[in-house]
Symmetry: C2
Subunit: 149 residues, 2 copies
DNA sequence: CAAAAGACGATAAGCATTATCGTTTGATAA
DNA sequence: TTATCAAACGATAATGCTTATCGTCTTTTG
């Protein structure tokens, strides 16, 4: 029984070890727990929410470690960000109907018209040589709960 | 000449007074300068960038006032936000291709498949009674500059 | 013009995030 | 296995962005 249990644990660890190898990152205990906890979370948790859950399994873990590893996971392609984070709020003065090109590296924001965009992910190059990685379509509106008030 | 100049100033002020009336907000000097400065800015400035410019015209203005009025402008519909601000970074564990419904009030984020979304702004109601206000399509990728490195 | 309501400026406080640094751990080779 | 060393960790200070508070000043309204 104990042997079987250890065998399962070992298999899980081997799996994560492989995943780390595939993504070119080192394997640590904290990293493994973090990965498993995140994998098991619904929705789009914030670093604090992830931290709260991981602390239950590794009470000594630091919030800084959670941040560091979330970034590592995102940069190495294990997970990805829901959207590009701009740090501060950005205001729109252009009242024309338009969308945006957002650089995933420098986070620059450039307007792009609906026609130029086309909305078919076939186009891989856009105005000014912008290289498309993906489209992030956010549907903005009111959820059912917020409509009631 | 002076009369003509004052006439122009008065006309500009009257215009802004009208805009305030239209949007149901009070008219103040700081608000007017802020509006004119923002109107004249390119791109998607941060509150700090707006503050830096306004300070040149109204040196005594406070950063808090800039924030308060940017919010006021956004809430009263004079300007709008480039995207919904989530405060903290959100991570995506769902590896399926999908988009998001983001509530403009409570900022909740819900997954939505490409098919269910349709991408034609004709649909005004979506899953769970989500009421569509607008689509925010962000094209994520690398700008020309960032591709060079 | 006077009173009331609202806006302003200064500044403290509150999150989110990053940087620093001394200690611990994991990968590698003897 | 053990020694070595780079990398990762934990604690915590620092920073950046934003909001709250509060006393003073300006608009608005009558
Ligand atoms: Mn824009
Ligand atoms: Mn999602
Ligand atoms: Zn770039
Ligand atoms: Zn809502």
């Amino acid at each position: 029984m104990l042997i079987v249990f250890c065998g399962i644990l070992n298999f899980v660890e081997q799996t994560f070890r492989q995943l780390c190898a595939d993504h070119g990152i080192a394997m640590t205990h904290q990293r493994q727990v973090l990965y498993e906890v995140m994998q098991g979370m619904e929705g789009h948790p914030s670093p604090e929410e992830v931290y709260a859950r991981v602390k239950k399994k590794v009470p000594a873990i630091s919030l800084a470690t959670v941040y560091k590893n979330i970034h590592l996971f995102v940069e190495s392609g294990v997970f990805r960000k829901m959207s590009v984070h701009h740090g501060s709020v950005r205001v729109e003065m252009n009242s024309k109907e338009h969308h945006h090109m957002v650089c995933s590296r420098c986070k620059s924001i450039t307007d792009i018209g609906e026609k130029e965009l086309g909305l078919s992910p076939a186009r891989r190059k856009l105005a000014d040589g912008f290289l498309v990685e993906r489209y992030a379509v956010d549907v903005i509106g009111l959820c059912a709960k917020c409509q009631q008030t």
